[in-house]
């Protein structure tokens, strides 16, 4: 008993003379994700994105912190009215996404995030960018499918974009419905042990499908 207690003492002292604070990756990430879900406005979102970026810089092999950093800025960009500002925010987001892709070039979620970024760019200059960015978006979703065909967010993005495209361009509710239904199925089947894994898109898929249903019943009724 005696030796064990002394050993315990030495071990504790040794631990304390090293780093004053152990890096708690999961704790810091959960904290930041909670913050991300509650921020609004440019200043708060940038603080949150910077927080994720700091974690990313400290953890040299993880792509997820960069993912959330970019994700929070992309979501912000859709709400920004000033077009020049939107482009600037997306430039920052693209840089962060590129860093994530450098660490994990074959991660399906990163390609989905890229496909989520593109439509925000279109509004800055619709006539010049419309066609080429829509093309890029669908092509990137194909890449995401290649790396993980069960990623539900792929089908959510595909469906919601088809829904908002005019029928003459190949979109519309009829085309979008089966894709969104597939997304809902994939969300149900999606399972991961990682508490930090992105979860967005499930609720939104349900809402979009409801909207389609209501539109159909309105037409019929």
């Amino acid at each position: 008993m005696k030796p064990t207690a002394v050993m315990l003492l030495f071990l504790t002292l040794a631990a304390m003379t090293g780093q004053a604070q152990e890096r708690d990756y999961e704790g810091a990430m959960l904290n930041a994700i909670t913050m991300m879900n509650s921020v609004s406005g440019i200043e708060e979102t940038v603080r949150c994105a910077n927080m994720f970026e700091r974690i990313a810089r400290a953890e040299k092999d993880k792509w997820l912190p960069y993912y959330y950093s970019a994700y929070s800025l992309i979501v912000l960009s859709y709400e920004v009215g000033d077009l020049q500002e939107r482009d600037e925010i997306l430039d920052i987001a693209q840089g962060l996404l590129d860093s994530a892709l450098y660490r994990a070039p074959e991660e399906s979620e990163l390609h989905v995030l890229q496909a989520f970024l593109y439509p925000s760019r279109i509004l800055v200059d619709p006539t010049a960018r419309g066609m080429s960015y829509v093309e890029k978006m669908f092509k990137t979703l194909e890449t995401a499918k290649k790396y993980n065909p069960d990623n539900p967010r792929i089908y959510f993005l595909e469906g919601v974009n088809l829904l908002n495209m005019p029928p003459s361009f190949g979109g519309g509710a009829e085309v979008a419905k089966p894709v969104l239904e597939l997304a809902a199925k994939k969300f149900d089947a999606f399972h991961t042990d990682d508490p930090l894994w992105p979860t967005w898109g499930e609720e939104e898929t349900r809402i979009e499908l409801e909207k389609i249903e209501n539109a159909v019943t309105q037409e019929a009724g």
């Binding site: 008993m1 005696k2 207690a5 315990l8 003492l9 504790t12 002292l13 304390m16 003379t17 780093q19 004053a20 604070q21 890096r23 810091a28 200043e43 940038v46 603080r47 910077n50 927080m51 970026e53 700091r54 974690i55 810089r57 400290a58 000033d82 077009l83 020049q84 482009d87 600037e88 430039d91 920052i92 840089g95 200059d125 006539t127 010049a128 960018r129 066609m131 080429s132 093309e135 890029k136 092509k139 005019p166 029928p167 003459s168 361009f169 190949g170």
Partner: protein, 717 residues
């Protein structure tokens, strides 16, 4: 007994632990301070952190930051912020708070900062300064899919409807040179009959970026008195694509294939005006309606991280024949034109090292123009080639220097006989050297100075020409630019072949402009003055006596161009208004004195409006063009060039309907020119001999037809 000793051990362990805890002082300390740029302005949203830890914070709008940390001892503090170089410093964190004043160094990039705009309309998707791109050109009704037709709706250009070429700021069509990917294109226009407009050989859809400069252009370009058109072909094809199209003027098919690091695109076109001429009656007598066969191949290959190799090759063959009403001579002459044209270029862009960029290329062109005029055959063969090398040295963050050299070779052969007895043969090699530093003095001021040395072997003379331009940012969205330069151009081959001793013509440009660009709205006003000297004069046209030629001509051109483009105010619509005022006079050719030349008009106005009508999936475009009367020489009036034609008005319309047939994207496009059926008179021809009453008969130069339309159907496969 044992329990009491155990308890005492525990107590001592605990007290030692507590002691050591207080010695370490597990308390947070604050690291705070301010972050500023080189000028002392606070930098907001900077990410301040300790390397290896999650601890950090974001600076506020004034650049102040405060972060709390448990870290102690030697640390590295870093600051990252977009637009700035990464900052780091060593820090010794003690028990007391740390106060810092940090200065960040700016990263000078192409995208933000001031850029030289005097005399230049630059368009690309990358730069936010989009003025005209491939889609713009294809959807500008009056252009009818012709690059030069679209540029004609921009300020600085003149309406010269019977020629179809680009006339810029009082200069002749030959004063504008065309480049593709930086390589000179000797014959960018198709062949055409007299008084019938031509168009550009290349489809606007090939180009991702078009630079139309109306003066004061870079030292990279030479041998052009007025302006430069530089077309950048698109990069790697994004996808595999195929399409066919059917038009009232022909049919075409194209496909593109993409591999991981390379792509190939090819297009074949067959065009015939036969059907078009049946529907829209021509006032000229065609024996053989113009027929064109065209093939084009583009290959791209990514080399390494940053290198791109581009190869372009196009071949076209044209035939047409008409009974030309040669009014001046009072005869009907049969003219047949057969043209074969080949153009190929290969370019490479890449980085040689961290500080050196390279852009190089070679091109080759061959043009055979076989004209039979009233039984007389004239075969003109032009072979041309060029090689170019441009090295950009990124000397410092705010200074880059371009070094370049190019060689243009031209071989001109005119055979006006059936037995080879009447042959003109000219060979010209034009080497040149240029250096052009571009200095961003600060985020508000940029200067580009250049010098160009060029030589022409056929003229046996060379010159050193300075160029200077500067831009100053007057506000977040506005800037003022100026440009000055000396330009030279050798006489055209048709004149040089008679008088090889002639010198180059000269022009000095002075340009000043103001530009405001914000949120999809652009306003530009530019004023310019060009002084011409050593223009070619001849006693009579087509004289074969070299003594009839001289460089005694001179002139000037001055004016104001105004441009307003708005893609925001009206939802779903894009419109621009372009107005040019031109005051020009010159004494050249066989003019007896200095007058406004017949291809210039004082006022030119273009209003282009485009709108996407979502419910019917249709793009609607309309152009209104106006030009004040052009000068013409009335032979019956002793005063030279005193006549003025009626003003020019034109309304053109195009509709593009997008649909899906058999699950394939289809486009139906209709383009109508001169919708309101205005009369157009470009000038007058006068007979060579007076009539019985002593007066010379005249005939107006008019378009070959009034209102006309083209229908195009495209299906993506």
């Amino acid at each position: 007994m044992i329990e009491i000793r155990h308890k005492m051990y525990l107590k001592s362990i605990l007290s030692i632990l507590l002691l050591s805890l207080s010695m370490h002082g597990m308390a947070q300390i604050s690291v705070k301070g301010s972050i500023a740029d080189q000028r002392g302005n606070g930098v907001a949203y900077a990410n301040v952190y300790l390397e290896g830890s999650y601890d950090g914070t974001t600076s506020d709008s004034a650049g102040y930051f405060e972060m709390l940390t448990y870290e102690t001892g030697e640390q590295i503090l870093a600051v990252s912020c977009i637009g700035f170089e990464l900052f780091s410093m060593e820090l010794l964190l003690g028990p007391a708070d740390t106060l810092l004043r940090i200065s960040l160094k700016e990263k000078v990039s192409e995208l933000n900062e001031v850029s030289i705009t005097a005399g230049v309309f630059s368009a690309s998707d990358k730069k936010k300064s989009v003025t005209l791109n491939a889609m713009d050109i294809s959807t500008t009704p009056s252009a009818v899919g012709d690059i030069y037709g679209a540029f004609a709706t921009l300020p600085g250009s003149q309406k010269v409807g019977e020629e179809g070429m680009l006339f810029v700021r009082g200069g002749e069509a030959s004063e504008t040179k065309t480049y593709m990917d930086g390589m000179l294109v000797r014959s960018p226009y198709f062949s055409s009959m007299p008084q019938i407009p031509t168009r550009g050989r290349f489809s606007p859809l090939l180009f991702s970026e078009t630079v139309f400069s109306t003066g004061g252009y870079s030292a990279e370009y030479g041998d052009a008195l007025s302006s430069i058109v530089d077309l950048t072909t698109s990069g790697l094809e994004p996808d595999d694509k195929a399409s066919v199209s059917l038009m009232t003027v022909g049919a075409s098919a194209s496909f593109s294939k993409r591999w991981e690091n390379s792509s190939l695109a090819a297009t074949g076109l067959f065009a015939s005006n036969a059907l078009h001429h049946r529907i829209f009656k021509q006032n000229v007598d065609w024996i053989k309606d113009p027929v064109l066969g065209d093939g084009m191949v583009m290959f791209r290959q990514k080399l390494g991280e940053t290198g791109l190799l581009k190869t372009f090759c196009s071949f076209n063959a044209q035939t047409m024949e008409m009974n030309y009403d040669h009014f001046e001579a009072g005869t009907i002459d049969r003219i047949r034109i057969r043209n074969r044209n080949l153009y190929a270029n290969t370019t490479y862009t890449g980085t040689l090292s961290e500080k050196w960029l390279i852009r190089t290329g070679i091109s080759f062109g061959r043009d055979l123009e076989d004209i039979t005029y009233a039984g007389q055959p004239v075969l003109t063969t032009q072979n041309s080639g060029s090689g170019k090398l441009v090295l950009t040295h990124l000397t410092r963050d705010n200074l880059k220097i371009r070094w370049g050299t190019d060689v243009n070779w031209e071989n001109y052969l005119l055979d006006g006989s059936t037995d080879g007895s009447d042959v003109v043969h000219m060979n010209d090699i034009q080497p040149s050297l240029f250096v052009e530093p571009e200095w961003k003095i600060n985020e508000k001021l940029a200067i580009r100075a250049g010098a160009r040395a060029e030589y022409s072997s056929i003229l046996e003379s060379g010159s050193v020409l300075p160029r200077l331009s500067a831009a100053y940012k007057t506000g977040k969205f506005s800037q003022v630019s100026l440009a000055w330069g000396k330009f030279r151009q050798k006489p055209v081959n048709e004149i040089l072949m008679f008088a090889p001793g002639l010198q180059s013509a000269r022009a000095d440009h002075y340009i000043l402009n103001y530009q405001y660009k914000r949120q999809l709205r652009t306003f530009r006003i530019e004023t310019y003055y060009k002084k011409y000297d050593d223009l070619v004069k001849y006693r009579v046209p087509y004289s074969s006596d070299p003594r009839d030629y001289s460089n005694a001509g001179y002139g000037y051109a001055g004016g104001v161009d105004v441009f307003w483009r708005d893609r925001r105010t009206i939802k779903g619509a894009d419109y621009w208004i372009s107005y040019s005022y031109l005051n020009t006079k010159r004494d050249h050719r066989d003019y007896p004195l200095s007058v406004m030349p017949d291809y210039a008009s004082a006022h030119n106005l273009s209003v282009v409006y485009k709108h996407f009508i979502s419910p019917i999936s249709t793009y609607l475009g309309t152009t209104y063009s106006y030009a004040s009367g052009r000068p013409y020489d009335n032979k019956n009036d002793p005063a030279f060039m005193s006549g003025r034609t009626i003003s020019y008005h034109d309304v053109s319309l195009n509709l593009t309907y997008l649909t899906r047939i058999f699950h394939r994207d289809c486009i139906l496009h209709m383009n109508v020119t001169n919708l309101l059926g205005f009369d157009h008179v470009f000038g007058y021809l006068y007979s060579e001999t007076p009539g019985e009453d002593g007066k010379y008969a005249s005939k107006a130069i008019v378009p070959t037809t009034g209102r006309q339309a083209i229908l195009v159907f495209i299906m993506m496969l």
